[in-house]
Structures are given as C-alpha cells and as structure tokens.
Amino acid sequence: MSSGAGERGGAAPVAPDASNHHYDLPPRIFELFLDESLKYSVGLFERPDDTLEAAQLRKLDFIARELRAGPGTRVLDVGCGWGSLVGFLARRGCRVTGITPSPRQAEHIERRSREALEPRGAAGGAGDITVLRGAFEDQVLPEGSFDAISFVGSIVHLPDKAAALARAHRLLAHHGRLYLSETCFRSEKRYAQFSTSAEFGFIRDEIFGWGDCVPVSRYVAHLETAGFSLAGMVDLTANYRRTIEEWRRRAERNRTAIDEICPGYTDRLLRYFDICNASWGFTTKQYALIAVRER
C-alpha cells in the first residue's frame, strides 16, 4: 500500500460534500468549455477533423454498446454529472437512474430531461429518467434491479472504491454489465511519487474537493473481489489529451464570460488542464474497464 492519499487510509475525507464545490458551480461555466451535452469526461476521437461534439457523441454510443443498453434496459449512472449519458440512454429507450450529490446538476438534468424526452420523436425514445440526489453509498436501491451500471469518471471521488464496486455487483441482475472509466496513476510507484505533489494537490483540493487516482490494478482487484468477470479494458489516454485540448481552447476563448460568473476561474481551469495534459502517459492514464456479473 502506498503512502499517498490512500483509499483505505483512516483519515480519508468524506467525499460527497467535499467534491461538490466544483460540480455545484453554475452549469453556465461548464457550457463555456464543454460540448453542448456537458459531458465532462473523455471523448472518442476517430478522425483528425472530429469536433468535440462528434467525439462525445461517439463516446456515449461506445458506452451504450459496452453496456448492451437498448430499449427497456435498466441503467444506473453513478455520478451522472449534467446527464449527458442519462439523456442519451433515455432517448434510446432505456430506463435510466442517475445519481449526483450536486443539487445544481440534479436540477439541470430534470429540466433537460423534459426537453430531451418530449416529443418522443425520431430517436424513438420511450425511456425515462430518475435523478437521485446524494451519495451513492446512501441510496436505498433494490438488489439485482439494474441491467447496467456506469461510473464515468466518478469513482475517483468515492473514498471506498472496493465497497462501491461490491455494491454495484449486488445491484446488477444476472449478466448485468458494468462500465467504469477513470484517471489512474500509471503504477503504484508513480501514485506514491505524485499523488501528494503540489500540482495534483491543486487539482484534487482546489478544483474538485477530493479525489484519489489509484492505479488501475486496484480497480481490477476490487472488481475480482466483488465477483465480476472482466470483459474488457480500453486505453483512452490519447483521447483525453485531445479532449482537454478542446476544453482548454474553449475556456480561453470564453475567458471573459467565465470570469464574469466566477472571477479568476479561467486561470484555475487552464492550470488544471495543463497539469492533466502534461501528465497523461507519463504519470497518469485514462482507462475504461468493462465487467460482467456472470454469477
């Protein structure tokens, strides 16, 4: 076990309140640097001229395929942000439950979901959206009641990752699928060396509030322990570098508007983006893991 900010350390901060302060900023700030769906995670780029919007739409489709999500699929999205995945899946006819500790995110999704699902048009969406407020750990949910569960860049904020994945296993029905993507230090060695550095401290404490980028090997171990079968692993690191380049360009272009809402915030965002993009491949990786409850 490393000496870094440990997921099992006795002094791990309580995540929900701490991680709220970034995500609970006015959504307008995020509209000024994210794509139109406000997907705050890695896109999937295929062509040199792909827009951020195209890359994020392709990524949502990728997640949906990995989850085998179609009409009637019961999906739980843990840490659903502003609902890009929730909305996408509902338009495909899924019955989607999103969880967020941020009241502003919850309100945003509820407002948007009414627009997204009505009229139920060409996309054929007959799905529905439920938003649960609060921490994943505190939600009362029936065991075996979901066909698919996603953690898209959210489990980093949960102090007890082993318990979260064990719970996900219990919440899934037989053959239920799990999609988890996350920023991970590249190894235990780099985790020990960099997770306590000033730069990552800035991102963790001053941008997000709390997070712990454990190496991917720990997620693999937690999934195994929880009883999952591993079905796949994808390296999304290069895609995240390009995604952040796009966010950075937009943040710079909209500097005045961002700083009007939250003075000085553009520079903080740019510092955060620059640290991330200097780190990818050297100290950090972005991986997606796909796992199945087979027994």
Partner: protein, 93 residues
C-alpha cells in the same frame, strides 16, 4: 556562468544547447542561471510536473524515448545530455 557539458565535442555541445533552451523556455528562466551539474529539481519555478513537461518536450524534439528512471529521477543537465546523446546515436540512421 552558463551550461557547460562535461563531455566536450560538437554534437554534445549542440545537444546541451538545445536541452538548455528547452528547459529555460519551459521554466521561463535565464540560461545564465542553469549550470551543468546543478540539481534541476531545486531550481526556482520547478515542480514535478514542470519537469515531466520538459522531458516530454525533449523526447518530442529528439524523437527519442527517455527511460522512466531518467524522466522521474533526473537531477542534472549533464545527465540529460549524456542520455540524449546515447539515445540519438542509437536511433541515428
């Protein structure tokens, strides 16, 4: 006193000059403040990610891949020059 590579030949001097420029541009410091044997990690304005950024620029510029031990543990300009010199010899046509 500027950077003086300890191995002295034209190619090494050129590599040292290029690396010095990359370091100074990245960290926005004057070449005059950078000695060949100085501990890079103790320079003003250096944090661990800045140094990783410098290594990435060196790799891009010379089209080489530095060993992880060097990327994460390097202390002096001299060490970097020697490593880049060896790697660029290995990959030279």
């Amino acid at each position: 006193m500027g950077a003086q590579p300890s191995v002295n030949d034209a190619e090494t001097a050129e590599i040292a000059a290029t690396i010095t420029k990359i370091i100074c541009d990245s960290l926005q410091i004057s070449p005059a403040t950078l000695a060949a044997t100085q501990n890079l990690r103790q320079l003003e304005k250096v944090d661990s990610i800045n140094l990783v950024r410098v290594m990435a620029r060196i790799e891009d510029h010379f089209d080489i891949e530095l060993e992880d031990d060097l990327v994460f543990e390097v202390t002096t300009l001299d060490e970097l020059v020697v490593a880049v010199r060896q790697l660029s010899r290995r990959t030279a046509p």
